[in-house]
């Protein structure tokens, strides 16, 4: 550990999700503001290269496409980290107090408390941005569905969806400004490269994230604790994916029927081809694992 110069902080998957959310959110804010008729009024469409900005049909299409990207990334993020049981970014009791101390320490008023992989204020910032995005996605879905012909919502639902969507936009803009403003402070700057390369400076980790550093050291000494997917969960994963695939792809309409039938058969007889196949790939059931 002492020889290591840099430490991996963000995997490729995490960086992919971060930049997907960042780019799609930027496009959504730009195209969303275009749904107010402001680009024409304030003559943004007179700027060379932006003449399209006042065309609602273009900005609306862009808004939908970016929304598809954002929703994909958001759901991916939630499912991915839930399955891996990575919850270190979720806020905890006492985070407000701790953030205050950390920010005070950045200006040299006090000693910084020992931190884990994420600082208390990072957990709070994550919660704020995640909440804003979820609010925007949920209200956005209502706004999308109302555009179908034959679907009418009550005026109250639409009003709530519209105003909360507009509020969410203001919240996310504030969140992004605060997120970027954090890098004005020198103390936070070593974090910047990790969202591009994945790595942070090891000295920085030792100094600022001493608890994380300890965890990493423990892990290297005991060997990577690999928590493979148990056979039971792997089977459920396959069954669920097949059902969804059957629902989404027309040509695979028979898949849910097949999965349902095979689940019944396996429950009654114990015969399950998926299980046999997954065993070949090296999955073990919970019981077998405990024995090992």
């Amino acid at each position: 550990m002492n020889k290591v110069r840099r430490i991996k902080r963000h995997s490729l998957v995490v960086r992919f999700v971060h930049w997907s959310v960042a780019v799609s959110t930027f496009l959504l804010i730009f195209s969303g503001l275009g749904q107010l008729p402001i680009y024409k009024r304030y003559m943004v469409d007179k700027i060379p290269g932006l003449s399209w900005s006042s065309d609602f049909s273009i900005t609306l299409t862009l808004h939908y496409v970016a929304a598809i990207w954002l929703v994909f990334a958001a759901i991916f993020h939630i499912v991915y980290h839930s399955l891996r049981r990575e919850f270190a970014l979720l806020p905890r009791r006492g985070d407000f107090k701790e953030s205050f101390i950390i920010i005070k320490s950045m200006f040299g008023f006090c000693e910084e408390p020992p931190c884990e992989k994420y600082l208390a204020e990072q957990r709070l910032a994550y919660a704020f941005i995640a909440f804003s995005l979820l609010l925007l996605i949920v209200t956005g879905f209502i706004k999308v569905i109302k555009n179908f012909s034959g679907i009418t919502f009550s005026d109250a639902v639409l009003n709530w969806a519209t105003h909360l969507h507009n509020l969410g936009m203001v919240m996310i803009v504030i969140g992004i400004i605060a997120h970027l403003a954090a890098f004005i402070l020198k103390a936070n700057r070593p974090l910047l490269p990790s969202m591009f390369t994945g790595y942070v400076d090891a000295d920085y980790v030792r100094k600022r994230h001493s608890l994380w550093c300890e965890q990493l050291q423990k892990k290297t000494s005991t060997g990577a604790s690999r928590q493979g997917l148990t056979l039971e969960r792997a089977v459920r994963l396959v069954a669920g994916s097949f059902i969804f695939a059957g629902l989404v792809v027309d040509a695979l309409w028979w898949l849910p029927w097949f999965v349902g039938f095979m689940l019944l058969v396996s429950a009654l007889t114990g015969f399950c081809p998926a299980e046999t196949l997954l065993r070949q790939f090296g999955h073990q059931s919970q019981q077998e694992k405990v024995k090992v």
Binding site: V71, V79, I145, N147, G150, T152, T162, G228, L229, F244
Partner: protein, 325 residues
């Protein structure tokens, strides 16, 4: 059941569930009992009220809605910064040959030639009250509403006057008056442009069981009012009888207004454009939302794809060397 149908049903079920949970979906019984209404406008009967100073429908519309016309204070009418222009009709309230915030219906007069004969056609124009109105759906502040009865209403207290509704309307129906509305209370010099006005099919009158004023006033019974399906039938019967054409049934994805004419609407549209009259009558004009509604399917699939991709990534990560921290 095909895929499109499934996605639509899933969306409806999800939303219906959400609404049931919030309790906001309780339909007012009075509205639930009301069938959507519509009008049928017979262009073979309308003569633009020959001999009268003003067509009766236009005159009665102005009288009926006078109290709801905008009353701006002159000092509130300012240019839309940074633009130099502003839309003010308060000094031109007498204009009756086009739609304005003070004139919610008017009659076009157009000369056409059809089957070798010259003819003059009079066309009463106003909001068509579309089935899936882009104006109401795309209003950024939900200041417009499609009522269960059919009419599309603008809330003058919520409208900011951006005029987006006019741009997405195939007939540019809503008309703007500066110097009135919500924007005056916020930053009148910097944002907002007034309030949009248009026909509401005399919503308060029809809610009481009366006819829209224009229908009642028409001396030649050229405008009929009833349930939408009744009007559709009536239009088809009339069109078959005169070997004529219908407009408004398919346009913009369907509307509550059915025009019947002996002259094809393509010819009327071309003549209107040639004579520089607005709005035209574009036949089969597509709904502004058609394009994005196609994309909406992608939005319903995105979460499913996210779940599958995440499952796959986790699976690969577990099989790998644990480098995926």
């Amino acid at each position: 059941m095909n895929r499109r149908e499934f996605l639509k049903r899933t969306a409806i079920a999800g939303i219906a569930g959400g609404i049931a949970l919030t309790g906001l979906g309780k339909l007012k019984p009075a509205l639930a009992a009301t069938a959507p209404v519509g009008t049928m406008i017979d262009l073979t009967k309308c003569d633009g009220c020959a001999g009268r100073k003003l067509p009766a429908c236009v005159e009665v519309c102005r009288e009926t809605n006078r109290d709801r016309f905008p009353r701006p204070r002159p000092e509130d009418i300012q240019p839309y910064w940074p633009q130099k222009k502003f839309e003010d009709w308060s000094k031109k309230q007498d204009v009756t040959n086009r739609l304005t915030p003070y004139n919610w219906t008017f009659v076009q007069k157009v000369e056409v030639e059809y089957q070798g004969k010259k003819a003059t056609v009079f066309i009463p124009r106003r909001c068509m009250h579309c089935d899936n109105p882009p104006c109401a759906n795309l209003c950024p502040f939900s200041a417009q509403e499609k009522t269960p009865e059919g009419p599309v209403l603008i809330d003058p207290n919520a409208c900011f006057g951006g005029a987006k509704c006019r741009e997405v309307c195939p007939w540019q129906i809503p008309q703007r008056q500066a110097g009135v509305g919500l924007y005056l209370k916020i930053a009148p010099k910097l944002a907002g442009g007034g309030v949009m006005y248009k026909c509401d099919l005399c919503y308060s009158r029809i809610s009481r069981g009366s006819l829209p004023a224009c229908v009642e006033a028409c001396p030649r019974e050229a405008i009929a009012f009833g349930t939408k399906e009744e009007m559709r039938r009536k239009a088809h019967v009339r069109a078959a009888a005169i070997n004529g054409y219908i407009y408004g049934e398919k346009e913009n994805g369907g509307t509550s207004t059915f025009y019947v004419s002996a002259v094809p609407f393509e010819i009327l549209h071309r003549a209107l454009i040639a004579q520089k009259q607005v709005p035209g009558l574009p036949v089969g004009v597509e709904n502004y939302l058609e394009n994005v509604n196609g994309l909406a399917e992608g939005l319903l699939i995105a979460p499913v794809a996210g779940v599958l991709a995440a499952g796959l990534a986790v699976y690969k990560g577990m099989k790998g060397d644990g480098d995926n921290e």
